[in-house]
């Protein structure tokens, strides 16, 4: 059965086209890639790697439209800095500087804008990057919903660092830096007005220092890293499986999911594997280095709950499976078009 993205049939853009799943891939491949054809974006990683006068630079951009702009554990500003920083560091880059552009709806409270911007400044300081340029546009009331932020970032990839989905090999161990689904569920729970007694906080965090600690422990044995944002762990691992022509097998019992997140997912009919994260990473690591990298992760504040959650196999290329708690095995499908818009 052909499960590759199909040519776009819709005449109008649907919300699902922004889901980070199969519909997004269809939109990108049928509208954007043909127009912007060049070798760099064809890899479709989170960051483009360009060589300029001998230096390898990572370059990325991301837009943030999360609704509401303030949520437990973070806000749109924090997300806008960390999201772009994380896209850079997943390629092994050391982030240097960011740009920040604001589209603001007429009537947006200046106090809220200040709060967002201060949060961005704090996040940038924590991540060790500077916001060096930007732009501001204001649109009529109703033409946008409050505030949208676009950030772009540049980082330098030190010599010798080679990370990428195509480097994932059979035998690799899949490591996950902590509990999954926290961000998406925090925003969803807030938006649907669900009160579970315990506040569920977003995990938004800049992952640069965790990545450096991992690379110090594992070096070239770390084959790929990815922060599973939209589309969640399911989308990231399916992309790896397809890019590397391998099969990935997860152990459900090993995947860290917080109790309250599981409870919300059960209630709303979501699979934590499909839910967005903003401060977690997945790594594919050669088996001989997996223990050392896992120890390094657990010694870092952002990786205390890190776990080995699965393995890479040679058979049936391009597929992801999970051994369920009850003992069956089922496929983990590439998410199609989730009904969870504006989560980041």
């Amino acid at each position: 059965m052909d499960r590759k993205p199909q040519p776009l049939r819709e005449t109008h853009v649907l919300l699902g086209h922004g889901s980070g799943g199969k519909m997004s891939a269809e939109l990108v491949q049928s509208v954007f890639l043909p127009a912007f054809a060049n070798p760099t974006p064809a890899a479709l990683n989170d960051q483009a790697v360009i060589t300029l006068e001998g230096a390898r630079l990572a370059f990325t951009t991301d837009s943030f439209v999360v609704s509401p702009p303030f949520f437990p554990g973070g806000d749109i500003g924090h997300l806008a800095v960390n999201g772009t920083v994380n896209d850079l560091v997943m390629g092994g880059a050391r982030p240097c500087c960011l740009s920040a552009s604001f589209i603001i709806e007429e009537g947006f409270p200046v106090a809220d804008l200040r709060r967002v911007v201060q949060s961005m400044a704090a996040a940038a300081e924590e991540a060790g990057v500077q916001i060096v340029t930007g732009d501001t546009k204001v649109v009529e009331r109703g033409a946008a919903d409050g505030l949208y932020i676009t950030t772009a970032g540049v980082g330098v990839i030190p010599a010798g660092r080679e990370l990428g989905p195509d480097r994932v090999r059979p035998g690799d161990v899949i490591l996950c830096s902590g509990s999954i689904g926290d961000h998406g569920v925090a925003v969803m729970a807030l938006r649907s007005g669900l009160d579970f007694g315990v506040p569920i906080e977003s995990d938004t965090a800049a992952l640069g220092s965790l990545v450096e600690a991992m690379l110090a422990a594992g070096g070239a044995a770390i084959h790929a890293m990815r922060d599973p944002t939209r589309g969640g762990v399911a989308a990231s691992l399916n992309e790896w499986a397809q890019a590397a022509g391998v099969q990935i097998l997860l152990e459900e019992a090993a995947v860290p999911v917080r109790e309250e997140v599981r409870a919300v997912c059960e209630l709303l009919g979501l699979d934590p594997l499909n839910v967005a994260n903003e401060g977690k990473l997945l790594a594919a690591v050669a088996p001989e280095a997996a223990d050392a990298v896992l120890s390094a992760m657990r010694a870092h504040p952002l990786g205390r709950q890190a776990a080995a959650v699965g393995e890479v196999r040679a058979g049936n290329a391009g597929t992801v499976f999970i051994r369920t708690q009850v003992g069956g095995t089922r496929p983990v499908e590439y998410p199609s078009g989730e009904q969870l818009p504006r989560i980041c």
Binding site: M1, V13, L14, T324, V326, R330
Partner: protein, 371 residues
């Protein structure tokens, strides 16, 4: 997680599987059981429950997905209402993705209609309260499980004097569908896994006829893998003993008399109606419509400009046969090729409770011998 992990334990699953094998061996013939609820269909694929069953026991998916059984003409009607000036049309997320005649409610929204996704009819009532100058239509679908929530929304609208709230009903009840499936004799069924959540409202008395008139066992089941395995075992034990009774496996939620308070509210607001089901056709008294006292909230009466009609399913689509249990998803020629979750042609590919969507998401690669 408490109350969930206990029902997913692999050691218990293995023991139930062994007991099922023993009972099935005593029968020494193929056994076909239909699970009536879409929630069961989803859980069966999600947890690979089939994998615990011996070869001679087969689960057949029934008509229990509310989104799936809503006929195509009704979807087209909802889209027509959504396009009326001043209308806000609200429904559950999956219903918005089902294709009508030309596209879905979501596509109508992309083209300018005001279509909103809600989790509950009470959310739609809130939209009506906040938009007094608009007409808010809630596309009300579902089985016995959702009927009380719809009744509450109607009663609350009445109490608050909200005059801009309407229901476009496509509400159905399970027992007439079971009778239709048994009467059609299209497939030989040995027993039923009864719908746990629908029975938590209706009780099990409306299912007694299956045992009394048709001599088939019914076991009303919960939705966790161990619930389903235990229910299969209970049906097999009845078959081995030559019995046909209605039993409740889902005792933590279901009482034989159901939920009297909820049933009273439903009876206050709705009355039986002869309605069309996708796949099963027109079944007498198988649906619910608003009683005359609430007729002013009935979108069928309040919007004479939108005309209800009947639409056949697209020719290639096998949703009808799949909803009757006559065909499996993979026996449909367009399954996974022309019809996918991104571009569904039939409703069974839309809802996670639909057999095709569940099979596409969880099952199809197992069929291909993938691991």
């Amino acid at each position: 997680m408490q109350y969930l992990d206990e029902f997913r334990r692999s050691d218990y699953a293995q023991r139930l599987a062994a007991a099922i094998r023993d009972e099935a061996a005593k029968l020494d013939r193929p056994v076909r059981l239909m699970e009536l609820c879409g929630g069961h269909t989803h859980a069966i694929y999600k947890y690979a429950v089939d994998a615990f069953l011996p070869e001679n026991v087969r689960l057949i998916h029934g008509p229990g997905c509310p989104v799936c059984v809503t006929p195509r003409g009704r979807v087209a009607h909802a889209i027509e209402l959504a396009r009326q000036p001043g209308v806000i049309l609200a429904s559950f997320g999956d219903m918005l993705r089902v294709p009508g005649e030309k596209g879905s409610l979501l596509k109508a929204r992309a083209q300018g209609a005001d279509v909103r996704m809600v989790y509950s009819p009470l959310d739609a009532l809130k939209i009506a309260r906040e938009n007094p100058d608009r007409r808010v239509v809630f596309f009300a679908i579902g089985f016995e499980t959702t009927a009380p929530a719809h009744a509450m929304a109607v009663l609350r609208a009445e109490r608050e004097g909200i005059r801009n709230f309407y229901l476009l009903t496509s509400l159905v009840t399970m027992p007439p569908a079971i009778r239709a499936i048994l009467d059609s004799q299209e497939l030989a069924l040995d027993g039923f896994i009864g719908p746990g959540h629908a029975c938590s409202i209706s009780g099990t008395i409306p299912y007694e006829f299956v045992a009394e008139e048709y001599h088939r066992p019914v076991v009303v089941s919960g939705f966790e893998p161990l619930d389903l395995l235990q229910s299969v075992l209970m049906v097999l034990r009845q078959l081995v003993r030559g019995e046909a009774r209605v039993e409740i496996q889902y005792k933590r939620l279901v009482r034989p008399e159901g939920n009297p308070l909820a049933l009273a509210r439903v009876a206050q607001v709705f009355e039986p109606k002869t309605v069309e089901w996708r796949g099963l056709g027109v079944l007498p008294d198988s649906g619910l419509q608003l009683r005359p006292a609430f007729a002013h909230m009935d979108a069928d009466l309040a919007f004479p400009e939108a005309v209800p009609r009947h639409l056949e399913d697209p020719k290639a689509c096998e949703c009808g046969s799949i909803l009757r249990g006559a065909k499996a998803p993979w026996e449909c020629r367009i399954f996974g090729t022309a019809c996918t979750p991104e571009n569904p042609i039939g409703a069974c590919m839309v809802s996670p409770e639909g057999a095709c969507a569940a099979y596409y998401k969880y099952g199809s690669r197992l069929q291909e011998g993938a691991i």
